[in-house]
Amino acid sequence: MKQFLALIKKEFAHVLRDRKTLLILFGMPVVQILIFGFALTNEVKNAKVLVVDQANDIASRQIIDKLEASRYFEIEEKSNNVHEVESTFKQGQVKLAVVFPLNFHHDLLHQNSAQLQVIADASDPNTAATLTNYVNSIVQDYTTDLNRSEVMPYQVTTQVRMLYNPQLKGAHNFVPGVMALVLMLVCVMMTAVSIVKEKETRTMEILLASPFKPILVIVAKTVPYLLLSLINLVSILLLSVFVLDLPVNGSVLLLFAESTLFIITCLTIGIFISVKTSSQQVAMLISLMGMLLPTILFSGFMFPIENMPLPLQIISNAIPAKWFYIIAKAIMIKGLGFSAIWRETLILAGITLVLLMVSLKSFKIRLS
């Protein structure tokens, strides 16, 4: 036990005395959350719109007012000239153009239908689709208002409810994702370097010549990073609650317990890499290429797994971040309890155990 405490104390000294790394460790999650929260969002807000109002009548103005009132659009300029549309798009100033033809109101009243042209910059297909949908629903709204007094004979109306995230906020999606990413980065990379560093600086030689137990060394290496990661977790959650207005709907305690499990999984991955490699660079590369990339690709946080070809879907099962992402989303957003996520928890625990066993088995008690 004394030996174990001495080992932990030593590891803490290594971590805490490396100020630069420490700064990165604590700074990274904050910066990432802020970047993802404010810069890299795929929500469409205040998209610039060009309105060509050739009609300039009551109907067109009412629709324009509705567009302007929505927080999705910002009417950039109004024009009467259809030919300006293309040049404005080419300058890249607007994402969308709405063109009202002449006699818009007149047609609507007398022919019972009027046409409204919506032109979108589809070089970004997602944004284009989202924006045209917004315009559609605003126009639909307007028509329903018009017909309020009259009873339509047959009509199906869709009642849409966005569960768990009614405002369609991006933060709901990325906070669990960034949590997975940051914990993965901190835990895997730092521990991956830790043992291999001792091999490289030869301190392993003297440690090996002492009566130590490999399991103690391995566990002691992970303790400081476990604590560090828990602090990071707290800062991520505080940021997401107070800065991004994303409350934790489920049990905070459960979230912490599951995160701790995920952190331990990542730590064992790091240890495994560290045991298997012989230089810090290789360990770093493997943890970056072998862990960070798959985490981004296969966790479901950036790209939906359901849309991937079957082989990739199967591969994604081996990525611990995928399971943690599911768990974190279930607790944070859906507010679900343990009964909903026990399967994912079990899988994470299983991966951890297997990795720990393999690492212990491959820990070399001699120099090679």
């Binding site: 001495a6 080992l7 000294a13 030869r202 003297i206 010549a209 009566p211």
Partner: protein, 304 residues
């Protein structure tokens, strides 16, 4: 029971291509200061690593305090002290922290064996709050020695402890080893410096993995067959050239500011040689008998 026994110990690196240690056998008695002398790449470190159970031998066997280096590696590790050739302590821990850490790892306390390291540690004490990585070379060696001694090992393995250390610190270091010998600790030390060989009780000369000889330094020196002469002249390169062309010369090696020369005829007159060298146009000639050194013996054995 001998402190250390090697029996045909061999180590081969890389699919049998590089033989680092070739069937080496020797014994070290309890309380002995044993030196393994040889140039870089002779196999000293490989032998040390096998004896400290860090490497598995590829042939032969070895035991330390009666324990087999393969089977009983755990027991050996808690009973021997090892100081690797390169500084291997934690540079980001202080002097004191390093010592306390290794004391704890070896299940002991600093106070328990303080008497063993006292003389060395006193010199380190003013710097005990300093990071080990920021110590001078000599201080690092002292700290490493303290860490290797902290658990009162039965056998102390020091792999090239004085390499890269200044001459004053080197002498101090050997003084410390002599004091440790008083504490009945068996010490096995390796060094590429031939002058340090005389400070050992017995030495083994090793070259390219082969053990050339094991004996006391005095015996090795007295076994040198020829009379040696130290020769000096104003123009040393010319002197060496002249000597190797001289048919009376048996061996001729540069040795600091002198050349060590032996002659085929053991009864050769000094004046004869001197006048020959003068005839060859050399000036400032100095020629006198000199006892052989370990290095002479080493070179002699290598040339055979």
């Amino acid at each position: 029971m001998k402190a250390v026994t090697l029996n045909g110990l061999s180590k081969v690196y890389g699919k049998g291509k590089a033989i680092a240690v070739n069937k080496v056998s020797f014994e070290v008695s309890n309380g002995e200061l044993f030196g393994l002398i040889g140039p870089d790449g002779a196999g000293k470190t490989s032998i040390f690593r096998m004896l400290t159970t860090l490497l598995l031998p590829d042939g032969g066997s070895a035991s330390v305090i009666g324990l087999d280096v393969v089977k009983d590696h755990k027991k050996i590790r808690s009973r021997v002290g090892y100081m690797p050739g390169r500084f291997s302590l934690y540079p980001d821990l202080t002097v004191e922290e390093n010592l306390t850490f290794f004391a704890t790892i070896f299940n002991t306390r600093l106070a328990e064996n303080y008497h063993l390291i006292k003389d060395i540690y006193i010199q380190l004490e003013p710097f005990k709050k300093r990071m080990a990585g920021k110590l001078s070379g000599g201080m690092k060696q002292k700290l490493a020695l303290c860490c290797a001694l902290i658990h009162k090992p039965a056998v102390l393995f020091l792999d090239e402890p004085t390499t890269g250390v200044d001459p004053v610190s080197r002498r101090e270091f050997w003084e410390m080893l002599k004091q440790l010998k008083q504490q009945a600790i068996t010490i096995v030390v390796s060094t590429p410096y031939m002058d340090e060989a005389n400070l050992c009780d017995r030495i083994g000369l090793i070259q390219s993995g082969d053990l050339l000889t094991v004996d006391t330094p005095a015996n090795i020196i007295s076994a040198y067959p020829e009379q040696l002469y130290a020769v000096k002249a104003d123009n040393m390169p010319a002197l060496l050239k002249t000597l190797s062309a001289y048919d009376e010369v048996l061996s001729n090696n540069a040795f600091g500011e002198y050349a060590h020369v032996s002659f085929k005829d053991q009864a050769i007159e000094v004046n004869v040689v001197q006048s020959y060298l003068q005839q060859q146009g050399l000036s400032g000639i100095e020629l006198r008998r000199t006892p052989a050194t370990i290095e002479d013996c080493f070179i002699k054995r290598l040339s055979n």
